[in-house]
Symmetry: C2
Subunit: 495 residues, 2 copies
């Protein structure tokens, strides 16, 4: 019977034909899989995408993982206006300079030309800072720990689903504190939460560090980031956390009376993760057959596929009964009941959509009290990919298997990252590795913008993030320019 099923299976199925092999052309594969798996559609407005139900369900799972952690750490959600008056946006000099080229402007409303242009928020430090100035009077009002789930807009030229679109969905946290130490601890805490979700939920391993001055958020003193490595050797910034110092509190006059009666400026942070994280997940885990979703992210953990030829109501009923039982056990499960598709098509379709486990339910299996369980995380044909499980044992089997798949996808991604973490000791090697997109190329670095600009001009690579030199580290020279090294830096081309 297994052989018969393999014959039905879909090496040449229409599901697969439209997706070029990932290994040959990551970029085409990525776009094809995003469209074919119905995560997104291109919208009839330039540079924007529609997040379709299957894509939105991924976003909902990421949201839930983050939101529960935000709330556990004392943050509350709120909502601030979409539009920011130009005069308000302009108060923090670096910030407006950084964002102005990317702003979309509303100039007309209610049939009239507006007296002042209104920016669609590219980020909300400005409007939130303005409100904090009203809300905060005393040290008793601090800290303020607020998060917002919102759409933002940045007028980009080139766009790709999830990675770069004019409008995107994200969360942005904005906090205000009485002391610099508290603000530092907050920025570090949120970076830790991002790492926990990226690695523990999305199964995407990251390197964590501080951004160089040229890559820093416009208006921040320190920006920290999560960087994931894509299979083409390019890095993808997956979240950032900023120590804004007193830059915004001075520009927007956010002050408080401290315990010593002195009026002081607050210390603020901001931090964000967007649907870009889903782009990282797709690229890191996917294979030639399509998506591979970590179970904790999968909207559908288990697809049940009835093996029927013509009318077999008993098999369909058994599939539905199984689905009910699994749902009662807390599993996210669906039955592929389409009557115009053959099982082989359905296998390939479930694979393409990245569903972690499929269960095949056939008449003979039922008679034997068995189910055929196929996991998505391994190469087709690998040992243990397809097993027969006693019907009675399916609930516990799945609980274990889904944990295994989550761990296995993370382990595979870790191995991929480890292969892409390379070091260079000589300038020529370093530049070659950067040009060839060998991965995250780590060197002792001078931390000078001019050096970074020179490397970028030669290789298109920039620093992704920086780590301190080890305390026991020998005095070293910058591999790129020969000046004394101050930090260790990851260089890479990036999305």
């Amino acid at each position: 019977m297994c052989e018969a099923r393999e014959a039905m299976s879909a090496t040449q199925s229409p599901v697969m034909k439209e997706i070029p092999p990932k290994s040959e052309d990551l970029s085409s594969w990525y776009t094809a899989v995003c469209l074919k798996a119905e995560l997104v559609s291109y919208a009839p407005v330039r540079g924007c995408v529609v997040l379709r139900p299957y894509g939105f369900a991924l976003w909902e799972r990421l949201q839930a993982a983050l939101d529960v952690r935000f709330k556990e750490t004392g943050h509350e959600n709120a909502y601030f206006p979409l539009l920011i008056p130009e005069s308000l946006l302009a108060k923090e000099g670096e910030h407006i300079e950084g964002f102005a080229p990317e702003v979309a402007w509303v100039t007309q409303g209610g049939g009239e030309t507006l007296p002042e242009r209104l920016a669609i928020r590219p980020t909300s430090e400005v409007i939130i800072g303005t409100m904090y100035a009203q809300w905060i009077q005393s040290y008793r009002d601090l800290p303020i720990l607020i998060n917002q789930w919102a759409n933002v807009m940045r007028w980009e030229k080139a766009t790709r689903p999830f990675l770069r679109t004019l409008e995107f969905l994200w969360q942005e946290g904005h906090t205000a504190h009485a002391t610099e130490q508290e603000a530092q601890a907050e920025a570090a805490q949120m970076l830790g939460i991002y790492r926990e979700v990226a690695e523990g939920t999305v199964a995407v391993p990251v390197v964590v560090g501080e951004k160089s001055s040229s890559e820093r958020f416009a208006g921040a003193n320190h920006t920290f980031s999560l960087e994931a490595l894509m299979p083409d050797g390019k890095a993808l910034q997956s979240a950032t956390s900023h120590e804004l110092g007193q830059n915004f509190s001075r520009a927007y006059d956010i002050t408080f009376a401290d315990t010593d009666q002195q009026v002081k400026h607050v210390w603020t942070t901001s931090w964000g993760m967007s649907w870009r994280m889903l782009g990282a997940m797709i690229m890191v885990h996917g294979d030639d057959r399509g998506l591979r979703l970590p179970p904790k992210m999968a909207p559908i953990e288990v697809m049940i596929i009835p093996i029927v030829r013509g009318e077999e109501p008993a098999v369909l009923a058994a599939a539905q009964a199984l689905a009910q039982e699994l749902r009662a056990a807390g599993r996210r499960v669906r039955v592929d009941e389409r009557d115009d598709k053959k099982p082989g098509f359905k296998f390939a379709d479930a694979d393409m959509r990245g569903i972690p486990v499929r269960i095949e339910v056939g008449a003979r299996d039922l008679a034997n009290g068995e189910l055929v369980v196929v996991r998505r995380d391994q190469e087709r044909g690998a040992e243990g990919t397809k097993v027969t499980v006693a019907r009675d044992a399916i609930v516990t089997h799945l609980a274990t298997l889904l944990n295994e798949i989550q761990a296995s996808l993370f382990a595979q991604a870790q191995a991929q990252l480890a292969r892409g973490l390379v070091t260079a000791e000589h300038r020529d090697d370093f530049l070659r590795l950067c040009r060839e997109r060998a991965g995250l190329v780590e060197i002792p670095w001078c931390d000078q913008p001019a050096c970074e600009a020179a490397v970028k001009a030669e290789t298109s690579a920039t620093t992704r993030n920086l780590r301190p030199l080890g305390v026991d580290q020998q005095p070293a020279r910058c591999v790129a320019c020969g000046e004394p090294a101050r930090v260790r830096a990851y260089f890479a081309q990036s999305y």
Copy 2:
């Protein structure tokens, strides 16, 4: 001890002084309570508000109540772009005519003037219909049942928190069906869900019916609405559900090959509820002391107030232990630990914020193994408002009490609605009742726009919604104009 506490209590507290009595000036009361309870702040952009954490938590509870019901009935969430090109918006004639005066336009982006104006969505029929035209080919693709949680923008002149703001948060459902019957059933189903949530969760009773042609959604064949009655006798439209017929599918070319191979236009619906529902909740339930929140909506169901004079660590510890125990039992609970506020202030503050139950924890109560439990839904001093409960029985007591409060607020609101449901048999009476804002004034009505316009000119009242004449009803004349009646109509002034 109870007397001592009453003395501490806050008839003249600063919490209350800033809120004018609801009974004397609903409008000032409403605005004051929205600001003072920290639901919203005015934003530094005209006609927009910030939804502060306490207000957003109310929105999250409403979202959750709706979202679970949408999903149970087979709907999926998705996200469509904020911006709609003008040429696209213009394809459905009635729709653009209805919305154009309220649109905000983006005309510049990325430092350049755009070749075409882009509307910030006032609603998303157009962009979603355009996508449906791409996604739907066959009857197998139907129905499509999608909901979107989103911000939308309508350039209004006069604005009030929740009731009318330029930008607001809502959900909008958009579905496409193979037959008119299915679309009708969908619109009716969603109206039923809205009613269930309005009455069962938000505890706001509503009248349900169809809108007149002049009050109908721009582009709809039939619009159905939920109308709540405010204490000033004005109606508040709280949700709408539209049968769009084939108007949008013809304008945006949404077709499918039916089982009979014929290519047909789909039948669409749309339906929405916004944060306006929160405005109805505030006005219907609130009293002179501030908000009164139905327990199912309350972000904090129980406020624990330690009764301490100076340092009493045992009382604070007991309050925290109680909070832990209640949280473990699934309650949303907080301890008011502020050390710069007296208990009397905290009582008034919890009342003002509408928290359904407060628990007072004092040293003597603890020694007696008791807690003082005060419910918010009744008049101060009413029998049973303040009771002593054995510490051991608190979890079960609260579960019962919160259900009672939910039911009691709904019953109070039902009585209020019943008082405002009036009928008129003569034209003069009818016009007087409309002018005096007696409530929802029900009459047999001719269903003619000219008659509605005449009533509006004389009284500012319009039809809120319509119901069929009873089948056993005597032939009747329109009370407003004397022509034959075709329906029964509720007239009222409205928000």
